[in-house]
Symmetry: D2
Subunit: 136 residues, 4 copies
């Protein structure tokens, strides 16, 4: 991406039930946020995760690295960005960052690697998935 | 660890509500499994995550890497292992693996890095946390 | 309420991770939706659930009845309404309905009864909670 | 049931991630517990919720009433009971109670009404579901 590019971004707000007994968003919930943003991104490529799954085309995560920089708290508004990056013929990576809106602080820096498998879990790249891999 | 060492292990079973529309355990749920196993491990060191949080001593994840090798399905019985490894004065790492019980297949290979912070999120290492860092 | 009254309403959208292996929103997730809408309603009365909890003022659910009329699916946009109704000096009820936006179909019809307890779980009605009970 | 009957019971333990910012099990999580116990009960009748769903036979909740008597806390061991009760040709009810193990205190008293629908959400009672309705 050139400097002028702005990545795809989803804005969300922390819901109280997403916080755990430490009073902060539970670690596992960031995974939900990241997944939701990726699925919204897919829709911009005319790919619908749920519809694909119904057709036995499963986009699955094969690796995820997350750096937790700081914790989101109840009511925080934040953005989740999604920047695709082709890794190989069958693998696509997504650089994802979560920023707290009030001060633009980086909370989460993540990299997710996804592939496409069929109903039996074998690598599978039907034509309809190709648009996802059109990363300039 | 020498070959003869057996890491701390927790056995669990997939519950149907942990599975998503692909019919497999949702990515975020493995985080719950890994966290639960770490907290059970802490108890073997006489550390209780919830009681520590009530005293404003917060054990927090600062980095996590997960390789998803294969997917757990409804009803699968599995084990989650926890192997601590001191990284620095304030950081401890946990190598964690999830194996499906029926065939001992490796499903998840993860490494979680944890630190201890006070109620304001600042690094904090009270004496009571020391036992956690006694990694031979 | 007179016919002209419009109840407090929150608009949300189903996220894929909220759906279970039947491909529909899991039963327990409606509880999250209902709770989130109640907490957003509380904010209109200048009450913040998380801040109250930090002061050992806990609003707790003591009873909930839910009729599941139909199931929300991935991507569905819906509204959650909140209509308060004083039940007794220490109990407040919330009639809550979830409608699917595309056709205004009633999906969930629920009634939640809430009370206020202190850190030890005993009934407790500090002055700051009074605004919640100002139901005309 | 005669007085001598003991209902089907599942034993579980609260996991820290199931607790919310009040430090107690979140309301929605009891739904997960109740559902898991019902699905374990179904297995005693040779019915597997996930396998049925894969065959487009969906057991769905149509009504649930829950009385929250007291709150489970981190680490609590508890039991969830399941007592079926035929309501009509197409509806089955489950009386479910959650007791804390240490003192046998009743925490949750619930009644869930379930029916069977096909992939399009229409009432559907294939022969394989009949065993569920064999309630003496």
């Amino acid at each position: 991406m050139s400097d002028s590019d702005t990545p795809f971004t989803v804005e969300m707000q922390v819901r109280d039930y997403e916080c755990d007994l430490q009073g902060i968003v539970n670690n596992s919930v960031y995974f939900n946020y990241l997944e939701h943003a990726r699925h919204q991104f897919l829709k911009t490529r005319n790919l619908d995760f749920a519809q694909l799954a119904a057709q036995q085309i499963n986009l699955v995560l094969i690796r995820c690295e997350i750096d937790y920089k700081s914790s989101l708290r109840p009511g925080d508004v934040f953005t989740v960005s999604v920047e695709p990056e082709r890794i190989s013929r069958l693998k696509i990576g997504f650089r994802q960052r979560i920023h707290r809106k009030v001060d633009n602080q980086l909370m989460i820096d993540a990299f997710a690697t996804v592939t496409s498998v069929n109903g039996k879990g074998r690598p599978f790249m039907p034509d309809c998935i190709e648009p996802l891999f059109q990363v300039e």
